[in-house]
Structures are given as C-alpha cells and as structure tokens.
Point group: C2
Chain length 151, copies 2
C-alpha cells in the first residue's frame, strides 16, 4: 500500500454540521469567550461547481470559522439540496463531520485515494482554492477533507 497519501498529517480544520449556525456560533463564542464570527454562504453553484456523488448539485451551506489553537473549527449549516453535509445532518444529526488537511495537486490526490478504496464524496471550488471530501470512513472512521489553496 502506498503510504503518506496526503503528504501532510497536520489537521487544519474540524468541521461540524449544525441546524442553526447563528445559534451554535453564539454558543461557541460564549463558551470560549471569543468574538462570534460572521457566517457566510458558500459560493453560488456556477462558481462552486459542486459535485456530490458524481453529479452536479445546487447545494450550498452557511459557514463560520473559529480559531482554536493552530486549527479552525468550522460550523456548517447546509441548505436543503443534496450534499455530504445534508446527508450527515439527516443521518447522524448535528455534530462532527470531518477533519481537513491542506494538500497540493487535488486531482492526483483524489485519484490516489480512489485507488486505495477511498471514494470521492463531494468536491467544489471556493475563492482561492478547491476542496474534496473523501470517504475514508471504513479505514479511518471519519471523513477527510482535502483543501488546496492557489498560490
């Protein structure tokens, strides 16, 4: 088996799906005594070019980020369209969704992980980069998100 598949083992983000990003952001801000960050929508479908399960999806989500040490905690409130976020919320309820790693060479990483049996769940673009959620759950017991930022 090929090893060190990501070329990086620094967890940069922990993502949670929530039903009410405003309410949970306030709870985090209060609990940790930090400012409540403004949430924002992921890009519109024509910019995000979201694919879920190999199909284009209209899905968007509200996102909010908290700095918690050297990594970020990300709150995600998905809209009603099909996405890994929506699926996780409906199947497991609110809570943990993924850990994320910064990588280089998105398409090659997706193919490399695919050859190891880790399927692409969802991918999309954001201003300055792109992401992919890989279904690493059978081996790692959680989902891994790949993040590639333009230089």
């Amino acid at each position: 088996m090929e090893k060190n598949l990501l070329g990086n083992n620094t967890i940069t983000q922990i993502g949670l799906v929530v039903r009410d990003i405003e309410k949970t952001s306030q709870a985090y801000a209060d609990f940790f005594g930090i400012d409540k960050p403004a949430w924002f929508w992921t890009d519109a479908p024509e910019a995000a070019r979201t694919e879920y399960g190999g199909q284009p999806s209209q899905a968007r989500a509200k996102l909010a980020f908290f700095d918690m040490g050297s990594l970020q905690l990300e709150l995600i409130e998905p809209d009603e369209h099909p996405s890994t976020w929506r699926e996780s919320l409906e199947r497991d309820g609110e809570g943990f969704h993924h850990i994320a790693f910064v990588i280089e060479g998105m398409q090659q990483k997706i193919e490399l992980l695919g050859r190891q049996g880790h399927k692409l769940l969802q991918k999309g673009e954001y201003t300055g980069g792109r992401y992919a959620y890989m279904d690493t759950s059978s081996e790692l017991k959680l989902l891994v998100e790949l993040l590639e930022n333009d230089r």
Copy 2:
C-alpha cells in the same frame, strides 16, 4: 452567562472510539506514512478511580495517540464496562467522540460548567493528571474533555 469557561480555546486532542485499535492504528499509520504507536490500557480501576454517570465504573480502554500537527488524534477502544466510550460506540458506532482542552482547576471547572447546564459524564485519573468528559452536546454539538496535568 459567564464567558470563557475553560480559560483556553486551544484544541489539544481529537478522540475517536474504535472497535479494533490495532487495525485502525495500522490504517492511520499507513494512510499518513507515520509509525504505528503502541497502544496501552488506561489505568486499573483502583488507580483510575473512574466514575461514569456519578457511579464508580470498572471501565478501561486501550488508547493510542498520533501527533497530527499541534494536536493529537486519540484512538480509544473501550472494554465492555459502562463508560462514555462504550455508550458512544454502541449508540453511534465507530468514529468521533470528543475534543479536549487542557485546563487548570478541575473541580472548579466541573462545577462552573455544571452551573451552565453542562453535566459531568465521566471522570478519572491517569498518571500525571486527571480528565473529565462534559456533556456540552446540546450547545456545542460535541463532547468536551477537560485535561488537567500535574505540574
């Protein structure tokens, strides 16, 4: 509401419950190209003085730690006795269990969080310190572990 309840917002650990720590440790080692750490048992009940749901518990677990950036990923394979680990595994299956923060003044923190509605789920001792799992799930959508290390 009192703010900054922990006096710290650096995530120091992400904990996962698993059924086979040997197998999942190997999967992490292979995926990330790192050495497989040796797992070890939590202390025996007379040393750990574990309490779960306010009652003494014989529960133990096998633990393994991976350095993943500035935090650790912890794998936990619980034994058959009642614990938050066992409960999580039986209710939700393998996967995410908690995020942890280093704190000072364990008893005061447990009481402070309790006054905010966050109940103590489980606590115990380990060589060099003590831990407490707090049920912060209704507000934060995940469990928080408090870690206090002796100086």
